[in-house]
């Protein structure tokens, strides 16, 4: 156990790393009721998965979890209720990572807990916006 917690300033020298987003999709969890233990187990899985990537200093932002409320706005001011519903899966969340390549990011995606729930992960490169 490291009782010596020395904080030294490491200038963050990232070689040209790029940022990638992971978009998590799965069928709505609405129907599936998890027991409290089940919920905690899933939480733990996500925490361990993301923590492992964060430990490599490759997590930019844990991002966000999206809830079940939704509205779709289409051209012509058409508004419908519910999340995007062209397919049966909805987006559950999004996180941002840094990696050398999309392949590296995809490797992490392979161990994402959402896959155990029958969901999938879309990995996308991020266009850096200036200003």
């Amino acid at each position: 156990m490291f009782q010596w917690e020395v904080i030294k300033f490491h200038p963050k020298n990232f070689k040209e790393m790029k940022e990638f987003a992971m978009i998590y999709r799965s069928e709505t969890m609405g129907e599936i009721k998890l027991t409290p233990e089940g919920t905690m187990a899933v939480s733990k899985e996500w925490e361990n998965w993301m923590g492992g990537i964060a430990a490599q200093n490759k997590l930019v932002s844990p991002g966000m979890r999206l809830g079940n409320e939704g509205r779709m706005v289409k051209p012509g001011n058409v508004v419908t209720n519910g999340p995007y519903a062209e397919i049966k899966e909805i987006i559950g969340g999004l996180s941002i990572f840094r990696a050398e390549s999309i392949e590296e990011a995809s490797e992490w995606a392979k161990t994402c807990p959402i896959l155990n729930a029958g969901g999938n992960v879309e990995v996308r490169d991020i266009i850096q916006m200036n200003g």
Partner: protein, 410 residues
């Protein structure tokens, strides 16, 4: 012989106190003059005490000399007098003596206000911290250079530029307005944390603890909690963290000054009062909806003081390290997280994760791997400990590592 140890100790505790008061007196444009006057005071002490012996009240002696030097300086420098704010000159009818108020209250107030003045967003973070270490913590330029893993010249330039910028922007030495305080406090807390760690584990002096630094860090942090506008949850969390760590002071070092590892410590030597205080501040910190990194670290420290070993503890600690890393990455958190992972999921799992960390240059990384390989692959364990021994900077570390290698070779 005694005087030789006394002056460095006094320098540590008194330099910054007197400097803070003088800085506030002279204004932000004349920080260097304040430093010089106090520096001269100590030089005089070194010369005089060697010959005439140590005075009965060394600190008081220093204060008197500093006051005299300040008055002399102000008298000599007519232009300076014009610039010194009128409030400063408490002139009475009989004498035009300038009061240098070195009371405990003014020392406290001056330090607090200097803390904020120095942690000014207009200068880069490392300059804020460098200047704080110099003015508020009596750090030498060498010590600051070590903290930043750089050299003296860089630090001197950095501090010079920082002071120039403070001068340019006419930063006032006073408490910041409530609207700015949240942001400014973040920087202050980082400095205080650094200060505490520098004392808790000193890597540039070959002694393990400099209790004074830790106590000063705690005192300054505590000062923030006593002031309504700075009494924020994260400040209390940081103070809790410091208390928990400090509670193990007596247990960390044996009679020979050797470092005792956490798992070998005598629990009866852990300071229960400090642990209670830590819990008190941790409770105070549990207000509001912001979970700062200090909250997470304090919670981790709490688990380490509450129990030595239990499956629940390590699960909680792992979860806390996960969350800490998600808030802010640090190499130490990454290593400690891996250790907790080992406790929960076994050494092999942890080894696989450890090898992804990219921290091969760190002696702590090799110590971790040495630990993890200990009951798994003796040769690899010894290999890593050996590398660690070469990479580490302090003899205290080297001793600990040497013992581990010896234990493995049996």
């Amino acid at each position: 012989m005694q005087e030789k140890e006394l002056i460095p100790q006094l320098y540590r505790t008194e330099f910054r106190k007197i400097t803070a008061v003088l800085c506030r007196l002279f204004g932000i444009e004349h920080i260097t003059i304040a430093e010089d006057i106090v520096g001269d005071t100590f030089l005089l002490a070194a010369e005089t005490w060697g010959l005439k012996g140590v005075p009965a009240n060394p600190a008081a002696w220093l204060y008197v000399v500093a006051k005299n030097k300040t008055r002399d300086f102000l008298k000599r420098s007519a232009i300076f007098n014009e610039k010194v704010s009128p409030e400063v000159q408490y002139s009475t009818d009989e004498s035009h003596e300038i009061e240098v108020d070195l009371s405990a209250t003014n020392i406290n107030d001056s330090q607090l206000q200097m803390m904020f003045a120095i942690c000014y967003p207009g200068i880069p973070p490392e300059s804020q911290i460098g200047l704080s270490l110099r003015i508020l913590c009596s750090f030498s330029i060498d010590e600051i250079a070590d903290a930043f893993l750089t050299n003296k010249e860089t630090i001197n330039k950095r501090l010079y530029r920082a002071k120039e910028k403070l001068k340019q922007d006419q930063v006032k030495i006073e408490m910041p307005p409530d609207s700015e305080i949240g942001k400014r406090i973040e920087n202050v807390l980082t400095t205080l944390y650094l200060l505490f760690n520098e004392g808790y584990y000193s890597s540039n002096r070959n002694t393990v603890l400099t209790k004074d630094l830790c106590l000063e860090a705690m005192r300054l942090t505590h000062m923030l909690t006593e002031n309504e506008s700075t009494n924020k949850p994260e400040v209390n969390a940081l103070l809790a963290l410091m208390c928990f760590h400090a509670s193990r002071f007596e247990a960390r070092v044996d009679k020979n000054g050797e470092l005792i590892l956490y798992e070998d410590q005598d629990i009866s030597l852990w300071n229960k009062e400090l642990i209670k205080q830590g819990e008190y501040f941790l409770n105070k910190a549990a207000h509001g909806d912001v979970l700062s990194r200090y909250h997470l670290e304090a919670a981790i420290a709490y688990w380490h003081t509450a129990e030595r070993d239990s499956p629940e503890k390590w699960e909680k600690v792992l979860s806390l390290y996960n969350r800490l890393l998600m808030v802010e990455y640090s190499p130490i958190a990454a290593l400690n997280r891996t250790y907790a992972l080992a406790k929960v999921y076994g050494n092999e799992t942890a080894i696989a994760e450890a090898e992804k960390l990219g921290l091969d240059d760190s002696h702590l990384y090799h110590i971790l791997l040495g630990e993890l390989y200990t009951n798994v692959d003796k040769q690899k364990a010894i290999g890593h400990f050996t590398i660690a021994s070469k990479l580490t900077k302090t003899s205290a570390d080297r001793n600990v590592i040497r013992k581990k290698i010896e234990k493995l070779k049996k």
